[in-house]
């Protein structure tokens, strides 16, 4: 990790309220499909690699940038780096990927990508995040897994 912060004074965003549990949610006879709020709740509290703040507080993840298709088993997450040259962007994407891979059933195809137009090396980073062989190799790297676990660990 760099000694100096790249983005010294990031803009802060308000956290959204906790999900309101409805009667249907508690009814065992109703099948609860995955929705974007549920996916958001899985990733909103991931820690930023350099600031003591969550991805939600930095507006890196937003519920409106999450798409869930239960029928086709597809989940698409777009995230927004705090600055267009952020060098932590691959690590942030990898943390989101890892959290979703660990938390969701294996039937889901998970795509984590940078929100279009928000990073200078968007296509290169997206290509790396879409390459499951490189993700698998990264997750066998003990040091990297430790760093990711620190991001994913909810304080």
């Amino acid at each position: 990790m760099a000694d100096t912060l790249e983005n010294i004074n990031p803009k802060l965003y308000k956290k959204i309220d906790d999900r309101q549990v409805t009667a249907d949610d508690e009814n065992e006879d109703i099948v609860d499909e995955f929705d974007s709020r549920e996916i958001f709740d899985l990733i909103r509290n991931i820690n930023d690699p350099e600031h003591p703040l969550t991805l939600e507080e930095l507006n890196i993840v937003e519920q409106s940038l999450i798409e869930v298709d239960n029928e086709k088993n597809k989940i698409n997450v777009q995230f927004t780096p705090t600055i267009p040259h952020c060098s932590m962007v691959t690590l942030i994407g990898l943390s989101i990927c890892t959290q979703l891979l660990r938390a969701l059933p294996a039937r889901f195809k998970i795509n984590v990508q940078i929100k279009p137009g928000t990073h200078s090396s968007e296509s290169a980073v997206n290509k790396q995040l879409a390459d499951k062989e490189r993700i698998a190799a990264a997750l066998e790297n003990g040091y990297l897994v430790e760093v990711i676990n620190q991001c994913v660990f909810i304080k």
Partner: protein, 339 residues
């Protein structure tokens, strides 16, 4: 009117045992057994027992990380395994049991693929370190004959030509390259770069005669490349007096996610693909297809062939129609294709 005869892919057996993702399957050259490998760091060998397939051997402790690919030698007495631990192991069955008798080191990081030449005297490996290595095999000794740094990114697959000592490699840099040894100075060099795919080329397979190549990519297409030798009848210019490879057909619109593997059957000419949408698809060339502008039809799509991404497909080299596949769902499956 064009009539396409659709075939069926019948599931014969599910082979379970691997823990986690299975990356690759490879048939013994006689088609009598299968080797598979995956993230559990093991290689498993399966063979028929009565009317069913059963696991015969587990090879462990050869690798400390994921085993990405396995390859039987043409004589069938050796298995080479490529691993994320940056090594390639050679397993030898000169006694009754397989033993790891050599470990090939040199790549800087993950080894992605390994392939034996037709004679069994050359072995190729490739890695995320962007290089392709050619190893010479003499009396059970493996010596590095060349380190080729032609790709600009992670190299995903290496495959030898079915007859000649010509090597093809596929890369994250979106290209396929062809290599040959210059007999004057015994240097291996790139004689052709095949550019057309718009994303990672994951795999490739030669046809039976080696004058065509099928490639598959993250761009969700399959491409067929034709070799034009110097002095070809089609009038394709061949500068440097080397063969030119031209993309003569693109199969698009069939696959909905990354295509991880492709295999061109040397007996039937059928092409099978392994896709990230869990489907195995089979393609066949039209009977009256123009060789310079061939047409291929999809003759079968096995929906939900696996419950997760299909990583590998391979036709049995001796039994026409028999196919093996491997998936992220931890299973190896044996199929039979019939028309």
């Amino acid at each position: 009117m064009l009539i396409i005869t659709m075939g069926t892919l019948e599931l014969k057996q599910i082979l379970t045992g691997h823990k986690g993702r299975v990356w690759n399957v490879c048939w013994h050259p006689k088609g009598t057994s299968i080797a598979s490998c995956g993230e559990d760091k093991t290689i498993r060998i399966w063979a028929p027992e009565g009317s069913k397939w059963a696991m015969k051997t587990i090879l462990t402790e050869g690798h400390t990380r994921t085993v990405r690919e396995v390859a039987w030698s043409p004589c069938g007495s050796h298995i080479a395994s490529a691993s994320f631990d940056a090594t390639t192991a050679i397993w030898d069955k000169s006694s009754s049991e397989f033993e790891c008798n050599a470990t090939l080191e040199g790549h800087e990081n993950e080894v992605k693929s390994v392939s034996w030449s037709k004679s069994g005297q050359l072995l190729a490996t490739c890695s995320r370190d962007k290089s392709v290595w050619v190893w010479e095999v003499t009396d059970g000794e493996y010596e590095c004959a060349a380190v080729i740094n032609a790709h600009t990114q992670d190299v995903k697959k290496v495959r030898w030509h079915p007859q000649e000592d010509i090597l093809a490699s596929a890369s994250y840099d979106d290209t396929v390259k062809i290599f040959k040894e210059d007999l004057a100075d015994s240097d291996w060099s790139c004689i052709a770069t095949l550019s057309s795919h718009t994303s990672t080329v994951w795999s490739l397979s030669f046809n039976s005669t080696g004058d065509r190549l099928a490639t598959c990519s993250d761009d969700q297409t399959v491409k067929i490349w034709q070799e034009y030798k110097p002095g070809n009848n089609a009038g394709v210019p061949t500068p440097n007096n080397e063969s030119v490879w031209k993309c003569v057909c693109t199969l698009s619109g069939y696959h909905t996610r990354t295509i991880y593997d492709i295999d061109w059957c040397k007996i039937t000419g059928l092409i099978a693909t392994a896709c990230g949408d869990d489907i195995i698809r089979i393609f066949r060339e039209e009977d009256d297809s123009d060789p310079n502008q061939p047409s291929f039809n999809m003759v079968c799509a096995a929906d939900d062939a696996h419950t997760q991404d299909v990583n590998s497909v391979q036709w049995n080299p001796a039994v026409p129609g028999q196919l093996a596949s491997a998936s992220d769902d931890g299973q190896v499956k044996i199929w039979f294709y019939s028309e």
